[in-house]
């Protein structure tokens, strides 16, 4: 593994004109495709057919790949993030949903299996399932804190968040959330975890020191995706029922503004500089661009049918 990585690093130094603009990686559930959007030019760089009904996405900068989950097929598509060609498939069975990549010393992929109530650990080099960790019922979204070595998983039917170790098969806590928790995000400083509750319109805030519930905030109608900004200023939640993005102050936990987006937004991600938020609108088939400084939607880009992109779908 080591030699291979050094080789990759060397290669990236030698090849000029490496991609630098941030890109959005979109899964199109109803089109059975994945598209990539250049977020500087807002142009579509690629769209490729994949297996049926893709949902979750995770970007692996180390491996120059991205992974897409297919709950209907029980598999993960592995796609080269520069040539946009499919390089492989991980067949796991089950109904795979949220996914996250560990690009630390340990190169691994975590994926929630909705049907088997587990988090599968996949080795991206061998493309094999190497472990299976039991969590609550119907795990949906998950996120990884690669620095502090924790995985946070939202268990949709057991109304809880499982906290797992990223290196050992240890379960630290199962924390009660709102009803039907869906997506999870962690603050940049690692201190707080945010979980949306679809059925009671809530945003649960959890302290990662002792896994206690700090607050249960009111969200819009049917909150789905959640993201935090890298400067620890904002928490963003998209609401499918009210078709908007709610912005909270991460420090005071107060809601600052409601910004209308497209119809039935599903996921939200933030640019690396924290200036923009991107929202996939599942029903209206577009990508909203929100300028956080002015707190408004500055563009709505039409994309292929039913964009979902559960996960951190924006990267260099």
């Amino acid at each position: 593994m080591r030699p291979k990585r050094s080789y990759l690093l060397l290669l990236s130094l030698l090849v000029p004109g490496a991609v630098t603009a941030e890109r959005a990686f979109l899964t199109h559930q109803a089109a059975d495709s994945v598209s990539v959007v250049d977020l500087e030019t807002m142009e579509r760089l690629a769209e490729l057919k994949v297996a049926a009904a893709p949902v979750g996405v995770a970007i692996d900068n180390l491996g120059k790949r991205f992974y897409v989950t297919h709950p209907e097929k029980g598999l993960i598509s592995v796609i080269d993030s520069e040539s946009y060609k499919k390089v492989g498939e991980v067949r796991t069975g089950g109904q795979l949903f949220g996914i996250a990549v560990d690009s630390g010393d340990k190169h691994q992929v975590f994926v929630a299996d909705w049907e088997r109530n587990a988090v599968l650990v996949v080795n991206p080099e061998s493309m094999l399932v190497v472990d299976l960790l039991a969590v609550g019922e119907n795990p949906a979204g998950l996120t990884l804190d690669s620095e502090r070595r924790r995985i946070y998983v939202a268990n949709r039917e057991s109304n809880s968040l499982s906290v797992l170790d990223a290196d050992t098969p240890d379960l630290y806590a199962e924390v009660e959330t709102g009803k039907a928790p869906y997506a999870v995000s962690i603050s940049a400083d690692g201190k707080l975890v945010f979980v949306t509750g679809i059925q009671d319109d809530s945003l649960t805030v959890i302290d990662t020191q002792d896994y206690s519930v700090t607050a249960r905030l009111e969200a819009g109608d049917k909150p789905y995706g959640v993201a935090t900004t890298p400067d620890n200023r904002y928490v963003l939640v998209v609401n499918q029922g009210s078709n908007d993005l709610w912005v909270y102050d991460q420090q005071t936990l107060e809601k600052l503004v409601e910004i209308p987006v497209g119809e039935m937004p599903e996921s939200v991600a933030v640019s690396a500089d924290g200036a923009y938020a991107y929202v996939t609108n599942w029903f209206s088939n577009d990508l909203s661009v929100i300028e956080l400084a002015t707190r408004r939607e500055i563009k709505r880009l039409p994309v292929a049918e039913s964009p979902r992109s559960l996960g951190r779908f924006v990267a260099d």
């Binding site: 709950p71 109904q95 039991a134 949709r156 098969p169 109608d221 029922g241 039935m264 029903f283």
Partner: protein
């Protein structure tokens, strides 16, 4: 770890896949019709949550056990229950969800629907937007409980309702 992981896996194969309320992959419909009637007239009909049997041909009767809940009896089939989420008279939009399903009555395990009215030159445009899950949310659904069956049933319910409402309101003139 390895041992209980194997046990867990084995258990999954032995147990039947119990139905859950939601699957991971929702479907959508977006049906529209233009009705040659003023928006207020259309709104008056559709916003009366307990009165859908007055205009929807597939609905035999409606009971309202409490405000915001309606039990629909579909002709020759049986009952499903819906609950109101939002009613916005200013924007002429309403949304509701399936509260108690019966997949033998309508082959969906869950839906949310919003009905929106817009004034247009020819009268009122009515939109019926649905987000829903097939009846069998496992990965190997039988044909009558798959995505296509769910889309077809939801589309038929929306279109037959809107067509009948159009006829009723336009015929009145």
């Amino acid at each position: 770890m390895k041992q209980w992981a194997s046990l867990l896996l084995a258990g999954q194969f032995l147990l039947p896949n119990m139905a859950v309320a939601h699957g991971p992959t929702p479907q959508k419909i977006d049906e529209k019709v233009v009705i040659a009637a003023p928006i207020d007239e259309v709104w008056q009909q559709v916003s009366d949550f307990g009165a859908i049997a007055d205009w929807h041909p597939m609905v035999e009767k409606v009971e309202v056990p409490e405000a915001g809940t309606r039990v629909l009896t579909l002709k020759g089939k049986g009952n499903i229950t819906e609950s109101l989420d939002d009613m916005n008279a200013d924007e002429h939009s309403m949304s509701y969800r399936l509260y108690e399903e019966d997949i033998t009555v309508l082959p969906v395990s869950f839906y949310s629907v919003s009905i929106e009215l817009e004034p247009v030159d020819a009268g009122t445009e009515m939109s019926w937007k649905g987000r829903f899950y097939r009846a069998d949310t496992g990965n190997f659904p039988p044909e009558h409980y798959n995505d296509a069956a769910a889309v077809s049933a939801m589309t038929e319910f929306a279109n037959s309702g809107m067509a009948a409402l159009k006829q009723q309101l336009e015929g009145r003139k």
